[in-house]
Symmetry: C2
Subunit: 350 residues, 2 copies
DNA sequence: CTGAAAGCGCTTACAG
DNA sequence: CTGAAAGCGCTTACAG
């Protein structure tokens, strides 16, 4: 114990900017400028400093940089960790940060998935840690909380269509179009009475948009009287109850368009337990096109919303904001349906 | 641009320790002591300071604290983000940190899942950010790299049986017992020729232990001549190839014990595509008891290794190390088999 | 283009 | 028990 009362800092083990400056024979300020790629440094000086940094294996400490400038760290906030779709977003973010000094650190917002007005403990913790910017992934986000947050820190929101003035950027897939594609696909395959299993706190417009797309396309294809939207939370039991109720109806749908793949897998499970065959008795379509869709036991037709592209774009836009952009931008990716066995009466064609 | 050249810091918006001291009528040092729960503060002073902190809504900045002391941030390093088992570990870590000032930040080690000697970019980034300690989740970790890492920063490793002297703690489930339980269960259900689908870079002893458990139990139950271990990486295609090869053998196994649930789901998929019925033609058992095991289309018998408990324990041990413990400790959780339909000839009993 | 000095918000010895 | 001062490793105006 005695010699290790302050083990969090192990002194003397780390090269500082002062030592680099000494080695290169320049001032500390000069090294700092090279570090930040700031203007006003001669090539000769830059080369000397770079050489010393490499030779001494110098790595700047983010804490110290954060005291006056940036920490070069951005916070990534997921609503949960079980949906493999988020892994796609993550890898997109990382791809965008590849050649920069920025590093993403992530956390999961466990507080019932909601960013409420008091703001979540995780978000506060990230601000305490001087994150240069935040990427928050929806849905289920309180609008006013987002605006407040965006006024405190550069912010990009993924999966949230509502705009917050200039407070934050948004990155989305076109949810209305995605829903339309699903209905179009199902009807083309002969399923004329698809129900929609939507998400329960229908606060975010990402949910509304998908529901609108479903309704409009149903009507345009002459299936208006079969419109049927039920909602559930992402909690397993809620999904099971909702699906069971849908399928117990005397007038049951011939297809279910589910909010996410995860909900669709539950739907497959419930339907299977009820003795229904997929897709003969019931077609099922998911959203996100996660890796599990490919499994033969799922063979789930799904909508690909390019999670990687969403993440890539979100990170790029966030860095622009950190660099000074104050007006909002909004990016939309077109969705694409990926057909598999769960919604095709004929084969399990890819 | 002009007025926002330094948007990463929005000055004046945040209460500092100086303002708290002023409000409470005490010194900055006194506030710092209250903040850190350090000894040598009178109750009266502590109460006053606490009141001012609450009134001003004071939150200390981690960067500043990290300059001399701790950042109260620990890094959590996952090998990938697609396995829902890691969500269990994460929630255990969070549970342990609940009432502390610590916050976990996580990252995914994308560099081929290996912590090599040059150490991964993610780990270096976390050290640059002054993480007080690291929890690294295996397998596929180079031993020497871990020892080096443990000498630089408090370290706990999850899913890695090899001990590194006093350089780091380990937290594991009893993998040998877990494998034994699987074999015992399968044989009891009438499957006498189970193969094992193990992980390919069999460097870590977590892998060896599970293989040893499989071998020993097979021999002890008189199935020694049916011992058959194949290995694959976690990459989907590798798993498919390995399973297909196993099942194409004239003398094919009547059961497959898979390294993880994810690999087991792939095995179910391949077997299904080959026209085999589960469990009639082939039993399948996974490891981790992830939520997807419950789905009717998987109904996967699996080994529960209490991810939440592993995470809880890892976080507790890490904080002990941060607080000064220098000797290694090792924690082992007993595994437990959860029977479902994929390995029971009779029913899909839970 | 280059550097000396001040300062970011805390913690840490060290006096009192 | 309490506080004044130094210092952590950077960045930021400001001179030169």
């Amino acid at each position: 114990m005695s010699e290790k009362d302050t083990p969090a800092t192990r002194p003397g083990e780390r090269i500082t900017i002062r030592e680099v400056a000494q080695d290169a024979g320049v001032s500390v300020a000069a090294v700092s400028k090279v570090l930040r790629d700031a203007y006003g440094v001669s090539d000769a000086l830059r080369t000397k400093v770079r050489a010393s940094m490499a030779k001494l294996n110098y790595r700047p400490r983010a804490s110290a940089r954060g005291m006056r400038g940036r920490t070069y760290t951005i916070g990534l906030i997921f609503p949960d960790l079980r949906n493999p779709f988020f892994a796609d977003i993550y890898s997109g973010v990382n791809a965008a940060l590849e050649r920069t000094q920025y590093q993403a650190m992530q956390g999961i917002n466990t507080t019932s998935g909601a960013v409420n007005t008091t703001s979540s403990a995780l978000i506060e913790a990230m601000i305490d840690r001087q994150m240069d910017g935040l990427i928050v992934i929806g849905p289920n986000i309180d609008m006013q909380a987002l605006i407040n947050l965006g006024e405190r820190v550069p912010l990009v929101v993924v999966g949230h269509h509502d705009r917050g003035g200039d407070a934050f950027d948004t990155v989305n897939n076109d949810d209305q179009l995605g829903a339309r594609l699903v209905v179009r696909h199902l009807v083309a395959k002969g399923f004329r009475r698809p129900a929609m299993l939507s998400l329960t706190p229908a606060t975010s417009s990402i949910i509304q948009q998908r529901e609108v797309g479903y309704r409009l396309e149903m009507m345009e294809l002459g299936c208006g009287e079969a419109i049927n939207i039920v909602r559930a939370s992402q909690v397993v039991r809620d999904v099971q109850v909702a699906v069971r109720r849908l399928l117990s109806d005397a007038n049951r749908p011939d297809a279910i368009f589910c909010w996410t793949d995860l909900m669709a897998f539950e739907a497959i499970s419930v339907a299977t337990e009820m003795g229904l065959s997929i897709p003969e008795d019931l077609a099922i379509v998911g959203y996100d096109n996660t890796i599990f869709c490919d499994l033969a036991q799922n063979s789930l037709t799904s909508v690909d919303q390019s999670g990687e592209l969403l993440g890539l774009q979100a990170a790029r836009m966030l860095i622009e904001r950190i660099d000074g952009r104050t007006s909002a931008e909004h990016f939309i990716v077109p969705p694409r349906i990926v057909a598999r066995g769960s919604a095709s009466a004929t084969s399990e064609a890819e």
